[in-house]
Amino acid sequence: MHTLRQISALMRLSLFDLYRRKDLVVVALLTVVLLVPLSFATPFGVKGASRYLNEIALLLVWIFVLAIAMTRTARILPTEIESRTIYPLLSKPASRTVILFGRYAGVLLASLSVLFLFYFLYALINNLKSALFPWEVFAQAFLLHASFIILVTALALLGSLYFNPDANLSVMGILIVSMFLYGQQLPVLASEHALPIRTLIHTFYWFAPHCELFDMRTRLIHHWPAIPWGVCCMIFLYALTYAGLCFGAAAWLFNRKKI
């Protein structure tokens, strides 16, 4: 119970920090500035097209939520250590793992709240425009997007113990974008190479975070049917397991780190 109170206090700290800094306001304004002129466009004088707008809106949601989650997570520990605010926290009767988990959960909660806000607005606008809104696919898309955020924040947390914030963001950014684009092409690439490289690519394929599994934008935009909930849960479990392993490694490193 005591530990839970400590974690919830740390989570509240991160949540207030996000809303205090007005990042969300900037991101929301940027989205509006980009989408409102597009919504008035009538290519070739033909009205009624909405999928392209949904696609751009969802792309912006993905980019902005990822940017907020990554930048927040990558700066948790380095900023605390640099500004020496970590010492009052360490002096409290709480283990380093609890502190790390509290801070991580806080950033995760803040990122998920941003995600929820964006998806709520997306659903609201789409529901007003069209009577046939695919609620089941929408729920699955939200769940998988949230899983993606759980995974990348854990990954960024682990990275923050190795790299400085900028390097961490660059490395993770490259890794995530590469996996999005080429994640499923890796076995094909491996089969085209000789043995040592093939094994290396195969190993990377099995251990790298498969971000492409969380993307249900096409399904949502083009009104494809929902995927089986079993598959959805398997992807969610994959994200939880991956995030759990990353957090475990981060906690292990943080407990051994000399501050």
Partner: protein, 269 residues
């Protein structure tokens, strides 16, 4: 030192400008109207940005094709133009067949479950969803003939907007003055959607004249098509002298293996 730098500052942009003008002029004279690096104005910026615009245009065209297939990216060579002209719509029921067992590669299995979708085509009611991407493709790359052709097809046949299709074609012809395909499309739109046979005949004539200079691999097909329609329209207005003349040109200059030429030669007086 300063005057040397001034000369260099004048000489280098001057050299770039004159080279770009020369390249643009020569490529225009030779009729390479689809050269990716030939800008409308022939200036340096158009030449440098030419390839980038072409690449963006192609990417946007691919996006439009995916929209035509209801979001499916992997749809083979099927596109708006080929799907509607070369084969029928009988593959709506096709399912993706690349399923792999879950135990062998669970990651691939999960991805296949996410991407699994039947091969469908947008119908007339959803056709407007493709147009923003065609518009963007045409704006990004005014020399992308395929994008213009596909947009014209959707506008004229799927959304019943032939006037917009004609406007787009005229803009396309302005940007690609030596292109036969666009001229032929314009003629067909004028003939089929506006019943303006007089203007259509003039456009077919322009297409035929352009086809004499075109060096593209499908020039014979386009020339044959233009000849057939010229003969057909001459027959429609009972101008037998013109019909005989077009048949003579076809017999002397074209291969009789081409379907359009066979059809032209079979037109009875």
């Amino acid at each position: 030192m300063l005057w040397r730098l001034s000369i260099l500052a004048l000489l280098v942009p001057g050299l770039f400008f004159s080279t770009s003008r020369l390249i643009a002029r020569n490529s225009a004279i030779r009729g390479y109207s689809v050269h990716p690096q030939q800008g409308k104005t022939g200036n340096l910026l158009d030449i440098i940005a030419g390839d980038t615009r072409t690449i963006i245009g192609v990417a946007l065209l691919e996006k439009a094709d995916a929209y035509y297939h209801g979001g499916l990216v992997d749809h083979g060579d099927c596109s708006v133009l080929t799907a509607c002209k070369d084969h029928d719509h009988d593959h709506e029921e096709e399912q993706t067949t690349r399923k792999s067992p879950a135990w062998r590669d669970p990651l691939r299995y999960l991805n296949e479950q996410l991407q699994a979708q039947a091969h469908i085509h947008l119908d007339r009611e959803g056709a407007e969803e493709i147009l923003p991407w065609y518009w963007a493709a045409c704006e990004a790359s005014p020399h992308n003939i395929q994008a213009i052709e596909a947009a014209v097809y959707v506008l004229a046949n799927m959304t019943e907007k032939p006037q917009e299709a004609l406007t787009l074609l005229e803009k396309g012809i302005q940007n690609n003055p030596y292109n036969v395909t666009l001229e032929l499309s314009r003629s067909e739109i004028l003939m089929r959607h506006f019943n303006d046979f007089k203007k259509a005949e003039l456009a077919f004539l322009a297409a035929y004249e352009k086809s004499l200079h075109e060096k593209a691999p499908n020039d014979d097909l386009e020339k044959a098509k233009a000849l057939f329609y010229l003969g057909h329209l001459a027959k429609q207005r009972h101008d037998l002298t013109s019909l005989r003349e077009w048949q003579r040109i076809a017999r002397e200059t074209m291969s009789p293996d081409l379907a359009s030429i066979r059809n032209l030669l079979e037109i009875k007086e």
